[in-house]
Symmetry: C2
Subunit: 161 residues, 2 copies
Amino acid sequence: MTLTAGESRESIGSEELVVWRMLQRAQVRITRVLEADLLVEHDLALASYEVLLQLSEAPERRLRMNDLADRVLLSRSGLTRLIDRLQRDGLVEREACASDARGLFAVLTDGGAARLAEASPTYLRGVRAQFPDMLDADELRRCAAMLNRLFPDPQVPTDPY
Amino acid sequence: MTLTAGESRESIGSEELVVWRMLQRAQVRITRVLEADLLVEHDLALASYEVLLQLSEAPERRLRMNDLADRVLLSRSGLTRLIDRLQRDGLVEREACASDARGLFAVLTDGGAARLAEASPTYLRGVRAQFPDMLDADELRRCAAMLNRLFPDPQVPTDPY
DNA sequence: GCTGTGTAGGTGCGCGTGCAACGTTCTAAG
DNA sequence: CTTAGAACGTTGCACGCGCACCTACACAGC
């Protein structure tokens, strides 16, 4: 039954399907591990960690809500509430934007930076643990290069419009 | 400001981080596109599509709830409700397992198979559209091979216990 | 037979998320 | 100046999910 099937069955399509399925599995698995680790060791959700991380990497530790939402792959409303929670816990603050009265900055507080520093080892360890030493650094780099061509980083221009 | 940064900043860590971030972006982006496409064109959620797909590939169009949950990367309870909905819509049925009174099969109905056949082109088109023709088939295959080594498919043994 | 441990699936509950709609502010056209 | 349209962020709402717990059954061992 299902004699090593699945692969042979779906390749009526093409390689994209295979890559896509693995992307799914990989992302879900890693996400769950990180979420669990961060939660038990630091009482911090993965999404929260990513917000803190993005802010810490941003100039002046601040980012517009919109930019931040794009970076952490969250909807605008989703980010609003997440920032609500982080603000309640004193990890970030909201700050008005001088040049645009509509805009708000999410700013990382010292407490938030400290919390991030605490959790960072857990996060890094968790990520590495999900990559068994089956690929050497060079393969990994090539893999990264391929994925990067497939899914370029919107970083600076916010998105390739 | 963030002079093409992000990459340089985080590579205090290692290549795994880069791959991981792309995995996230890729998975989230593709998921959203597929979800939206399937929803507007066929009123079908992505998770539902994947259940139908797995069942259609399974012998006799049936799978134990547990197996199915693993394959579609859902918790047991999550699958319970999803099957509830699909059953309500007549796309799958529950069937008792003769050899194990605790067990239940989720079985694809003819209606479900038809619905899957309808939606399949949308799904395939959506996936391919997310892979710009920047990689030839060979590169894609190598990429798939790498990912497969990193995140092996639990397919038959249900999981490497 | 009974009893204990593990497994299959379902249920109550709370949480996080996205969508649609809203108020506010910026920008451009008249 | 006024008005139309777009952009930024927030809020009401409903939905889907996972966790913890529960029941029913399986398979030991005695």
